[in-house]
Symmetry: C2
Subunit: 144 residues, 2 copies
DNA sequence: CGAGCTTGTTAGCTAAGCTAAGGATCGTGA
DNA sequence: TCACGATCCTTAGCTTAGCTAACAAGCTCG
């Protein structure tokens, strides 16, 4: 229906606007160290999954394979991620976070979350609930 | 309290995760033409405000002034934004969207919103309401 | 075995973002 | 008045993120 479509359009605009600004604000909250947003995100996905191939990680992160090659390269340089050969398929590579990767991740994650968690702490429980639900919805949309 | 802080931490992580993926997904939905995410965002802010100085626009967009110089430069090259001299302060510059800027913006905005509005259309009214509220909260957090 | 697909990487590009530094202009206080 | 500090914008130079195109290696299946 006309009105509903208009509602969706308006919401789409509002939402995109809010998210791009939020995103940039979050990006500004740099951790003490040197892990970037994308690197941290990749490391997180890798840790949650245990092991992944580069392609799988690229899919999860919604990025093209060459982009993931670069990100993984940076993480590997710092000894946070290790490459292993696939036992049966010579084309594939298996990625895994190292112990140091896990430790460094936890540290940076905490620093990175600081301002956001602080801001969330100042919200009402209802607002927190709203954001939690919204996060689930956004995740679903991004996946679709 | 301990538990609340933990809740905020968890929510922070979930939210960041959802947003970064959503963001990348949105970025993939390229319009027909050539305006990028950041350019479109700047053009939007400028149009909504009417006129802004580069610094004001940088603040709104949560970006450093040199970054905004580049973005505005791209927009100006394409004749979408015009620079004017400030009537009394010789240091400042006044930015404004041109007619063509407004037209191109509307076009690209529509294309860009397509997948998102489509996805939003498939949500229940309650979910849409949740996202609308969440957008407001996120905007407030980003501003703080 | 050979053709074709899949995986990962390399090469090369653009855009986005930052800091540092500089030039022009404004405002103010001696 | 005028010199000095502050403000605004831009330039220069860098890193990261992201893309496509192309390619080498390996798998698969007729």
């Amino acid at each position: 229906m006309m009105t509903e479509r208009t509602t969706a359009d308006t919401l789409a605009k509002t939402l995109r606007d809010a998210i791009i600004r939020f995103s940039r604000r979050a990006r500004q909250a740099r951790p003490v160290g040197d892990l970037t947003f994308s690197q941290l995100s990749a490391l997180t996905s890798l840790q949650l999954a245990g092991t992944l191939t580069p392609r799988e990680l690229a899919d999860v992160e919604r990025v093209q394979p060459p982009t993931m090659t670069k990100i993984v390269g940076k993480l590997e340089e710092r000894g946070l991620v290790a490459r292993r050969r696939h036992p049966t398929d010579g084309r594939q590579v298996i990625l895994e976070a190292t112990d140091e990767g896990r430790a460094v991740y936890a540290l940076h994650e905490r620093a990175r979350n600081e301002w956001l968690a602080g801001a969330l702490d100042r919200l009402t429980p209802e607002e927190q609930e709203t954001l939690a639900t919204a996060a689930e919805i956004l995740h679903r949309i991004a996946r679709g």
